[in-house]
Amino acid sequence: MNPRLLFGAALCFGLVAPPQLLRAQEDVAALEKEYQTAVASFQAKLAELRNAGKSREEIAAFGQANNPAKDFVARFQAGAKAHAGKEAAIPYLLWLGQNAARAVAMSNAGGAPGAAPSIADDAWVTLLRDHAASDQIGRAVQTVGRMGRTLGGEKVRSMLTNVIEKNPSEAIVVEARFARASTVLGDEEASDDARAMAKADFQAVMASKAVPALAQRAEGQLFVLQNLQIGMTAPDIEANDLDGVAFKLSDYRGKVVVLDFWGDW
């Protein structure tokens, strides 16, 4: 059998990564190694300064000027941009999502506050938007799913819908449906349609065997969606107080009630 045909077939079934993706993964691994070396030598220099009895200000100034994080984040960003829209961008975006926040925060005494997480957030958003069919976007689905407050629930839902429609992996589709439905829980502006879709999503996640841990959580979230939204009558609680005396939440009908889930820790 023709080896190229065989390779092509394997590619179709997702058995091997395409060559451009493999090369990008190697490039990113090399860049990551270079970054770790730079961080180690930077930290050694900081220790030297400390041992030499330099003042805190001097050490901080040296740190700000010489921390390799910003430079490397920029290099990973350049890699992602050079391959924008192509699979080869994926490893760069994954690195940025996982590391940019920490890397920049480390060097960020003088930087713009908030810049670091937004680089990571942008990477996750780009990953989800440009690579909706990839099998590498599990974490992007989860992370962007939690960005409803900053990006807007509608926008997050439409990005996840794109994944649900295009991704061939059942596990990723289940993750995306769980994430899409979960955005509705904290979103008072979610439309009735979005709420109906969330219900169907949670039920689909419960029925699927692809991600068992999510199936269980979906059951809980569905209860929250159907019973614990603003405007709904709160479900009753019947349990003991701290002295072992049973009482009910509904004993307090007729009063405004703050229900406070707390712990002394």
């Binding site: 603003i230 709160a234 609680i237 349990a239 939440l249 405004v256 703050v258 889930f261 712990g263």
Partner: protein, 109 residues
């Protein structure tokens, strides 16, 4: 968080208001002396020996502590996740809404 809740309970002592806790400590014996130390006078359900994995917090979809729900006098959920001043504001609004409703009902008699 205790000081804020203490002052809310104190300020609204003669209003139709109740702060109800759902406590998720595993060990009640350890907790009990803390109640008097911190002057935690309000009543709490106990979430059981599983602590944060207990049945009440599970059912109410709680995965962060503290979590707040505010109910009006009819038992309808009117706010979630409000802390500090936002919690006070939500409560005050519901109390005045309740007063208005009741004085309106009296006039209508």
């Amino acid at each position: 968080m205790y000081p804020h809740e203490r002052s809310l309970v104190k300020r609204l002592a003669d209003k139709p208001f109740a702060l109800i806790g759902v406590n998720s400590d595993k060990d009640l014996e350890k907790l009990k002396p803390r109640l008097s130390e911190e002057q935690i006078t309000w009543r709490s359900f106990w979430n059981g020996p599983e602590g944060t994995g207990g049945p009440i917090s599970k059912r109410w979809g709680v995965n962060g502590w503290p979590t707040i729900y505010v109910m009006d006098h009819k038992g309808v959920i009117r706010a979630k996740g409000v802390r500090g001043e936002a919690m006070d504001k939500a409560v005050d609004l519901l109390l005045s809404e309740m007063e208005k409703e009741q004085s309106g009902a009296k006039k209508g008699e």
